[in-house]
Symmetry: C2
Subunit: 340 residues, 2 copies
């Protein structure tokens, strides 16, 4: 089958590889109908993460079940399904508490690679959510977003305690940051401040109901957020980049007692303990437990109440994956869908 393989930073190819097979009785094999390129795929692409030889890529997916293991109970061949970028049993105490991305049996889907024609899904009962009915092409894009970027943005907004009466600031205007704006609004936030300098992304932020756009960064960015919040700082801040600068921006933009939800995969971030002590903000971040939110997100998408799929501004057949990576690397595209 065809699968995307990164051979070296900047060197993405579509190779011919073996079709996956059931390994554990809790596995399912899906025929992938849509996959995509994630902002986090750019870290190795740009050489910031070490590649241990040619590496299969992709952790977001939508597909049809082709085969199930002997212990799969809740899904059947032919089901149209979506899952998170972390496979989870959805039954351990960590999953039960809503942190499926840190399930004691977790399998990172990135280690399997879903930018491919077929994918093995471990812990299929815990991982997969069935999609009811027949999605439109727009809904397909949105469901694919739910697999990672929407689920991650949603978690960030929840971790930041976005809700009624709250002013939410969002640091980062990639797909996750943009969808955190959508999530904050859905969760009832009173106002949402997008921090962005990119005109097209600002437009998308406004479409997702951002009430303000702040172009300033650093001290000036913090000052602007304080100005917009009666001098106090945001109640809730989403960090969706993963750099030292963005993390400090998020913490400093937040009022004491406020919440910071950070979902940018940290690269070179070091937090000074005393600064954090005196910031007195509530911090929660990590790989998003997308599975917690998937049933609700699927419902919101299939009933037409949210349209997160608009973050996909480039759709390419999997053969053109290399061009998709280039477009995201050069910020010509926010988010690339790969069709199969």
């Amino acid at each position: 089958m065809r699968a995307v393989v990164m051979h070296a930073p900047g060197d993405v190819r579509v190779d011919d590889v073996d079709i996956p097979v059931i390994i554990d009785p809790t596995d399912a094999i899906i025929r992938v109908t849509a996959a995509c390129i994630c902002g986090s795929d750019l870290w190795p692409y740009r050489g910031y993460e070490h590649l241990d030889g040619p590496t299969r890529m992709g952790h977001e997916y939508l597909g049809v079940i082709e085969q199930i293991g002997a212990d799969v109970r809740d899904h059947a061949v032919g089901d149209f399904v979506v899952g998170s970028f972390v496979a989870s049993d959805n039954t351990c105490e960590i999953c039960a508490a809503g942190f499926q991305s840190r399930c004691i049996h977790q399998v990172m889907m990135g280690s399997i690679g879903t930018q491919a024609e077929y994918a093995r899904i471990p812990l299929a009962d815990g991982t997969l959510v069935r999609i009811p009915g027949e999605p439109t092409p727009e809904q397909v894009r949105s469901l694919l977003a739910a697999s990672d970027v929407l689920g991650t943005g949603w978690f960030a907004a929840v971790a930041a305690d976005a809700g009624p009466g709250k002013t939410v600031a969002v640091v980062g205007d990639g797909a996750v940051g943009l969808l955190a704006i959508l999530a904050a609004k859905q969760l009832g936030a009173e106002s949402v401040i997008a921090m962005s300098r990119h005109p097209e992304r600002q437009a998308l932020a406004r479409r997702f109901c951002a009430t303000d756009v702040v172009e300033e960064r650093g001290d000036a960015g913090v000052a602007r957020i304080k100005e917009l919040t009666g001098g106090y700082g945001a109640h809730s801040t989403v960090e969706a980049v993963g750099t030292q600068e963005s993390m400090l921006q998020a913490i400093r933009a937040t009022r004491p007692g406020g919440h910071v939800g950070f979902v940018g995969v940290s690269h070179g971030v070091e937090l000074d303990g005393l600064d954090l002590f005196f910031a007195t903000v509530r911090l929660l971040g990590g790989p998003a437990p997308v599975r917690r939110f998937l049933p609700e997100l699927v419902e919101l998408i299939m009933t037409g109440r949210i349209d997160p799929g608009v973050v996909f501004d480039l759709t390419l057949p999997i053969e053109d994956a290399a061009e998709g990576y280039r477009a995201m690397d050069e910020r010509r595209a926010t988010k690339v869908m790969l069709t199969l």
Copy 2:
């Protein structure tokens, strides 16, 4: 009047200084009836914090109001009162959200110095809580504890989300850590694990209803906590030391999705962003908003339901403050009360 002054690391004296006067109309002057030495006073004593010349010490206090400013409405001369180590207006949005220690008008009482016969209390209406009735000598000790160590331990337990069904681990066996055990139990925690190697403090931990004592540290300490929690880690962990080792101990002992409440004043702590990302714990710490809890704590103490004052294992007249500092520095005393 007599007041404790630190002239240099290890050099604590009782000097004769001016009696404070009302500066702002929201001030009150109290006659201090009891003060104490805080674990955080040991940082400059040990030379870990810079002293800018001779420095007045103390931020915990119990006393009788001697004089009030023109704008003080809720308190009167003669009131017996307790306050937090941070003066706060108790009306700004930060205070209203329960973070009085970061009030926009906050004054750190340590900058005034309450190890003295009299003290000026800024923002008296917001800061002070009246003590009803006539406390016993034991209740006096407990009320003094409420001013900082109990309030801080209580906040740590609340920040760590201690409550029914939860296993709470406490890193640090100083007065704050010990009182976090008491707080966790009061908040309904199912079990409380004290991390301590000190026999007398272990005994106090047990008295405050710790269900387990773990003597191991580092990897072995984390392994033991996991062993006691079905392999998952604690739901809630209190960090009450402030070192790199204790902070990492606390984070690593906590299950994903669990809470860490950190109240040890950070000294040299650096948190790696990626480690924090994958820990996926909820982090909240800082100077405790003791004022939030004071009315409840005063009530619990005056009705005899808690006895936090037992952490005071040495009581000295203020003249002997130097010996009090030495005793705490050498860990001969957990907590020293100074009488006036």
